[in-house]
Symmetry: none
Subunit: 185 residues, 2 copies
DNA sequence: TTACAGTGTTCATTTTATTTAACATACTTG
DNA sequence: CAAGTATGTTAAATAAAATGAACACTGTAA
């Protein structure tokens, strides 16, 4: 199944961050030789030290091992900006991508929340997972009892069973691209 | 962040399978004392031996650590712009949203294709569905024998079994937000 | 050129993990 | 009850990983 070339993976991840062995070692609180030997697969690091090393990236163990695993008609395909189906009301835009794709596994949407928009005090709750990235503007996300303010470039991913709410208390519209599974729309 | 009580996790997983320490040890090819000490957290196993132990379950390292994370329930929800894990190479950006969400159903990513970027002449093909919206720039999408040019605001949704290719033959980088299911990354 | 700071690698030593072989306890079952 | 066979734990011996201090190499500035 998995190749699990820890050495190569670590090296790739480290290079990706533009760190030298010594730099990463310093951040992680281990010695440079430890990193050298791990990357050369001349040792199999202990979980604790691998965790320490990854903390210098930073990266979790799940992420690290996940990366190792992936290294990998008639139907309408492209939807032009003005072709998207808007299922929102008024200034609230909910534009569905792939609206006529039969039995879609996901709802991918371009959403625009005008100032004042709010999904309501009654928190949303449903099966599935949802994620999105903010393109422009800011908005307030509540998940469980946590409240976040997200700005352009920020993103989220959570289980939709957690009670959640979207709100735009700011004075400019917020645009985001979202994905949910299974398809709700 | 993560508790990562390896001992407790291993014990839970083992019990779940109804195995004794010795039984698991035999299947995994390690000694029973190894398992005892790991479960008591009196050692931090090496990755190789932990992998051996899990092979007796059987269970992958990703799965194992995922369990630990969900058990400690400190799941991250919001990812700031600079926190996204970039798994691209060089100027090619592939930023994963919800990177350590255990057993994600989707890969939602922020992708940036620099001028000249190309997934190659060998067309991509895999199970699942994928969709995206272009945020800035333009790029060329090939699906089957159709070629599309997509600009900001345009989007696509197609079955990943259809051979496809991404290319940026233009002179400015192209940024898009994509979603694929199942999770490839 | 020389000196210097960066890179990754190697080796002897120290620290830690793993095995081997025992131990104590609990539960059968004859 | 006693003998047998599970269970998980532990101590000393062995094997392996982590450290500390070197080494060789590169590029750069004086």
């Amino acid at each position: 199944m998995t190749n699990l070339d820890i050495g190569a993976s670590l090296k790739a991840v480290r290079k990706l961050k533009g760190l030298s062995q010594r730099e990463l070692a310093k951040r992680a609180g281990v010695t440079n030789s430890t990193i050298s030997m791990i990357e050369k697969n001349s040792v199999s690091p202990s979980v604790s030290s691998l965790k320490k090393v990854l903390s210098g990236i930073p990266m979790s163990l799940v992420e690290f091992f996940s990366i190792g695993e992936s290294a990998s008609s008639e139907q309408k395909i492209v939807y032009r900006a003005d072709e998207l189906l808007d299922i929102g009301t008024g200034p609230l835009e909910f534009k569905v991508i792939g609206r006529d794709y039969p039995n879609r596994a996901m709802s991918v949407m371009s959403e625009t929340y005008p100032p004042g928009a709010d999904t309501g005090e009654e928190m949303l709750k449903h099966v599935g997972e949802e994620a999105a990235m903010v393109i422009t503007g800011k908005f307030e996300l509540t998940v469980g009892d946590e409240i976040f303010i997200l700005e352009a470039g920020d993103s989220y991913y959570f289980n939709s069973e957690l009670p959640h709410r979207f709100r735009n208390p700011f004075d400019e519209p917020c645009h985001l691209v979202s994905a949910t599974t299974p398809a709700n729309f």
